[in-house]
């Protein structure tokens, strides 16, 4: 089983979080293993098994059972790293050298896409789908690192 954590925290201005991966539906179609989505109430459901609002204990138990996981840059990548369960993080404008963990697989399309000031609110940054790697690259990495 693979966990997906598709969404980063909602922005206060209602715009799309620039860290949210835009190609989840295409990516999910390419994954040939059972998928569990985790997140919170109000987020778009992408697979049949969507576990919402889990406690940290519940989330931890689920993470311990999974083969691996795929996430945008959010709380989830830190949480799994802390449990020594490593997975794939899909980056765009935030810097994996600052906010990532080398033991995860950090897929960043181009460092030129990183915002200059990494420490401001994300409300100031527009979402841009072109700044993410394609689903094919994610699948390639998934198969290579977590066969």
């Amino acid at each position: 089983m693979i966990i997906i954590s598709p969404y980063s925290k909602s922005l206060r201005n209602g715009k799309a979080n620039p860290k949210n991966y835009p190609y989840w539906k295409e990516l999910i179609r390419l994954i040939d293993k059972p998928i569990v989505q985790v997140g919170i109430e109000g987020e778009e459901q992408l697979v049949d098994d969507f576990r919402k609002n889990l406690s940290l204990d519940e989330l931890g138990s689920l993470v311990d059972q999974c083969r691996t996981w795929i996430s945008c840059d959010s709380f989830f990548q830190h949480f799994c790293w802390d449990r020594q369960k490593y997975g794939i993080v899909l980056w765009s404008v935030s810097d994996p050298l600052i906010f990532g963990h080398p033991k995860n697989i950090n897929l960043l399309k181009d460092r030129n896409n990183l915002v200059q000031n990494q420490f401001l609110w994300w409300e100031h940054t527009e979402h841009d789908a072109d700044k993410f790697v394609s689903p094919e690259i994610v699948i390639e990495s998934l198969n290579a690192n977590f066969p």
């Binding site: 940290l56 709380f75 830190h78 949480f79 802390d82 810097d95 050298l97 600052i98 420490f119 401001l120």
Partner: protein, 322 residues
Amino acid sequence: MASVLCSVATRGRYNSTLPIVINAIANQTKLPDKLIIFDDNDAPEDMRNNFIYQHLFSILQHKGIKWEWIYAPKKGQHHIHQMANTMGYDWVWRVDDDAIPEPNVLETLYSYSYDEVGAIGGAILTLPFNPDTSKCTGKIEDIDREPNIQWAEIKETKEVEHLHCSFLYRAGIHDYNLGLSRVAHREETLFTYGLHQKGYKLLVVPDATTWHLKNPQGGIRSENNEQLYKHDELIFRNTLAYKDKKIVVLNVGMGDHIVFKRVMPHITNAEIFTCYPEIIPGRPIAEAQALFGDVDQWSIYKKMAEWKWTDSLENAYKKLYL
């Protein structure tokens, strides 16, 4: 050679002590790289139209001292000092707008700017007041029991834990407490004690006298609301009450709390304030705000921005707290 900014916060003294102070700065035996006047007047004026100031500005220019006149945000001098603190200079020499330094003051203070030193102050004399400071320790625990050591002539170099009024300090190391009210009561004590707590030496040194005219008119603290003084005094007392603790304020997201878990075991005697006690146990952030006024001084994101940080978040936490 390290860069030195001279910072003067002023209010209500256009036509009394401020021009004397500017003149004294222009006549230093070691000149600062730049002088900034932070004008906090309720009705600011353009002093380039005043003939005395015209001449003073000409003298500064002739001596190669860059100068700038900034209209300050009227939030109190601690906001002004914090601006100066973060302007990218190595050292800031803060001079009150009614404190007249002898010509050798900056040169003397700067001569003690060793690597381990965070701030240096000289005598700040307000004649005829001349207390006996021979037994003063300059320690924070004695602040209610002794006159300030800088209020009388300083006979020999001495390490202290807080400084007063006007001094030279290492910039960008410690923040001014922006939670103080606009009277900024105790601001320099809190600031210099913070430098001391960060492991830097504070020195009082001889032969660096500043004459404090204590102009009863104007002044950056010209405010008589007793409640504001009480508010600031409470922050000061709380800071002293927790002086032996390492204050940790995690006013950040869940992921940041998780990363901090790796740093926490290395911090001894921590008093932790947290947004997610299920990840990092501790007291609510609101309590930190009530105790210390301003929690931005512990904002890891603000710090990383200031430091132009490119390393990991975990290492940023280590820099802030270890």
